[in-house]
Homo-oligomer: 349 residues x 4
């Protein structure tokens, strides 16, 4: 199927019509009353850009690196599990589509495709997302397998000592279909996330692997400082797409304090609420080195498989190109805080 | 009837369909144009949480005390009168349900069940709410009976020198059904609230009882300081659920100034607008020791009697547990102002 | 017709159904895009009250004076012309209704009843509102007649050098019915408002009359200071009910700067957006000595003549009584700025 | 057709019904998610006016000059291309209508009528808008032809190194009709805008012409200072009607910082979101010397040709007259920042 959509929203609209309602609800919903789910997007609408004119360029250069790995743009794929809810081949297909867009894919430890199969299917750089499962040996095993399969970093999700309270999903009486299972584990094994980890976590992980460590789920300056003190190479400012703590700060509202606290000692990324390349530009202007997108990738996957995923990223790329050209930023390094109006929007929304 | 609802709102939706329209209007409505009724809830939507990660815990400990009395969570039952509007057994049933949730029940002096019958039916700790009725002998008698019946504190409602102007209720031409009467008084006796009391009230009450005194209905630092100077043990920041002074500050907006003024010299509680355990978490973060919920209890009562009440409190408990686990608060003592974004939301909404 | 309405809005709803559409449009509409018309009401919704408890009183005392004239409450009738659009007897009827409510009536110079006939019909104190008509002899004549007819003050409207641009009215193709005419002038005489007056106006008026002078239509500290320097006895903070300069500050937003600039050297009043006694309370807390209401009086007039007008004022009185009792203000002198939250609402809306 | 509309919005409503849907979409839409398109108008609703009373005048004097050229009011025609989408005679007709309203017409280099034909048809002063086409010889040729045809200034649009991402238009699958072409170029020539220009641009232009240079598309103090340093005579604060960088500041929000940075060294104008003379007044109060309107002119053109265009400008003029009379500004020079409330509206929206 050849599609020619213009906006990410179109993929959402088409996917909504084709995806199984329970799967759709699982993907779209947030936790609790969804204050944070809504806030992630609304917060971007309160940020205004300050473009600069007459900066000559042929075309903007979107190339950047994340932890030294070159990617074709500062927009990458957030780790998302259970992708077979949306496409029969699930993560193998999305990893292919993301790689074809020449950016980074972060494989979820809750994928319905094993990390090794994702590595085979992928056509670009890979990081591995780790939930803090217990027994810890399960987590340890995942780290070792990821290193073995040539993943280039471990992204530790720290905002999930328990899974969030998915009220919209539960109210419908929905549950996960039987054929959906975490493929990184033996059949019948459904590991539990753990609430027993502390900041010693990073020393333990470093004892297991030489891969750089990224911490995902930080929303405060306090935690950002601690993470840097623990030697992380990167921080993903994230509220888990509004799926963990309802009421948590929209991630883009939390970004400035994290960037300030980190003060360049680690790379800072953001996910949550990115629905256009312009949103990505705003996050970059507020100090993110790159952003991760989750749901839009899933919509592309549902609509048109790997090609749909690539197209979604190509739309985001094109929108970011427009934002850069029209703001006078020839490269992503040019995008700094002077390009955003520091209105009440960012903190006071 | 076995129910398995997920959100408090579901109880409201079901109750709305079954409760008599006049009774429903009485319960749901506020005074005046309902600016305060709306504000109580909207104010919570403007407060954002700042969660902290990697704080190990098995499960959060919600246990706390109010004036020394242990309760299983910092969420208790607000005093509400006329509960036979919602259930044939009224307060006896709700007191049972609340006690089964192992938290505090505050019996209203306008209950349709006598305070002694409530004490018999209850399965947990009890406080007694006192309206300032006149002649004062009526109030005095209630205090003595409450002490006799082993209530553990007197909660004096000071925001009701007159009953609020219930315009939505009046516009419908509704009135209270004939069989609804305040059971704490002889048939035919319908005591009036008094506007003649001053801050000497507390000395007078202390001459009547050794029970600790809680003042309910404070919204300003000025009054909070006076109350503390009068020796109260606790203060409920409250606008009476938007049923007294319309236009009064949403209670959660008033909370910070009261907490600051009290400076630890009394316990501070809050009611008004709490519709989830996350709301409770926000109030605790802003300095409340516990919160009281009124209408949600009534919805549970209407839907499923004592069991419905217990379930409502169990949902609130579970939501608070989630908020604590996902914010990194192993105990309620950990919840402080660093967990809320002090945005314009709190004061400037 | 005996009515028993609860809220002012009910009069509006009933009147809307009975009044001629063109007349209704004339009354309800504002000028331009109606930004100010809307703002007048919305601004009140952003002001929150800070009530104080345990202030003993039997009933609040609403009595006050305006320029020394006793009235039963600080809510009076704004000058409104063309009232025969709403009732066959027009201003004679409304003046009777307002006087029966024991408050002040301000007769409009554009009334469809002569000022002498209004004086005969009235049952309470009267002020006379003067448009700055030209030739000036017309204005002069009105002042002399008003003094002759025992009006107690002259209220000079200074915001009407031209009549506002009544776009909603014009878009409908409406015009004033032929039988509606300004009864203070000879048939065939339709005087024009003048844009040639300056602040020397007050010396000229003082040469004509010993009556105290009130200036109506001030929205800034600058003009307030000038008015006081010109010796006015009172200032009405007003944007003419959103009917003159569209985009002008909501009057309650302008009130604080006027009150501060006047610094007690004149009485300050407010009109615009008052729809309840609670709104009146807010204005008093921000420094108004009294408020004037226009459209609500007209709704009462349309619905039930003089009795309807009295009832509208009685509702406003009752609402103000509630606000005072429930805020702890035994008299209107007690109502000060400590009773309002000085949130962004007042200035930043 | 004789029309007698009252508000600009009426022209929009009528035009919407008669214009071809694709053409209509082209005219009305913005770029991206249209955050800026919406913001341009909403920002004006957050600005409040502070009128001053008793300033005598016969009628306000709206006459002003732009770069020394007298115009009858500080409201002029923004450059808009492709006007044959709306009327068979396109720009020739609108230029006639604008001149008849005795104000300035800015001819677009993307007009569907040649600049020479516009000059012949026009009945008032003309400026020429220059897109930075490449090859540069095309731009150079346009400048020389404009000077030859007696245009009085060159307005260089600097916000269009690429054309904006017109998502609403593209989503509909619309494209420009075949008969619509830029008449300033030979048939078959469709020049491209260039992203290779820098601030040296102005020296180059000055080598081509003695006409004063105006830069259009500035939104920041930084760029405004640079433009002044480059010797421009005027600056149009503009986001291209929300059609270039989506998310860019609403132009009226950007105006104050530009005015402050320019500090009188050049004339500052504004376009974007002006829908009434009151909006124009607000922009003037914030420091604009004149404003330009685009879409309203097109609506007039579509509804009633040259006469419709004149009527649109006459409505704007009348609204501005009202705003001036009712604010106490006898001339446009009187309109300063003291006439606007510097609320959060301006920056914090």
């Amino acid at each position: 199927m050849a599609t020619s959509y213009i906006q990410i929203d179109q993929y959402e609209e088409v996917a909504r019509k084709t995806v199984d309602p329970a799967a759709w609800c699982y993907v779209e919903s947030g936790s609790g009353q969804e204050q944070t789910l809504r806030g992630n997007q609304v917060a971007f609408e309160h940020i205004w850009l300050r473009p600069r004119m007459l900066v000559p360029m042929q075309a903007p250069d979107l190339n950047t690196t994340v932890l030294g790995t070159p990617i074709s743009m500062p927009i990458a794929a957030a780790p998302v599990g259970f992708q077979k809810l949306l496409h029969p081949e699930g993560e193998a297909t999305s990893a292919k589509g993301v790689g074809d867009a020449r950016t980074l894919y972060v494989a979820s430890s809750s994928a319905t495709t094993s990390l090794e199969d994702i590595a085979v299917a992928a056509s670009g750089p890979l990081w591995f997302q780790l939930y803090l499962f217990e027994p810890r040996s399960l987590s340890e095993e995942l780290v070792r397998r990821a290193e073995q399969a040539s993943y280039q970093a471990i992204v530790v999700t720290v905002d999930t000592p328990f899974y969030g309270r998915k009220e919209r999903f539960w109210r419908q009486g929905y549950s996960m279909p039987g054929h959906i299972r975490k493929a990184n584990f033996e059949p019948g094994v459904d590991p539990m996330v753990s609430s027993t980890f502390d900041w010693g976590l990073f020393d333990w992980l470093r004892s297991l692997t030489d891969l750089p460590l990224v911490v995902k789920g930080i929303l405060t300056a306090e935690d950002a400082r601690r993470a840097v003190d623990c030697g992380v190479a990167g921080i993903v400012v994230s509220n888990h797409g509004g799926r963990q703590l309802d009421g948590a700060l929209p991630s883009v509202m939390a970004l400035p304090e994290v960037v300030e606290a980190v003060a360049g000692r680690a790379e800072v990324y953001l996910d949550g609420g990115i629905r256009s390349g312009t949103d990505a530009f705003k996050a970059l202007a507020l100090g993110a080195r790159a952003v991760f997108v989750g749901r839009p990738m899933l919509w592309g996957l549902a609509v048109d498989g790997a090609q749909g995923v690539t197209q979604v990223f190509d739309i985001l790329r094109e929108e970011l190109e427009y934002a850069m050209v029209l703001s006078g930023c020839p490269t992503v390094e040019h995008i700094d805080t002077s390009f955003v109006e520091s209105a009440t929007g960012i903190r006071g929304y």
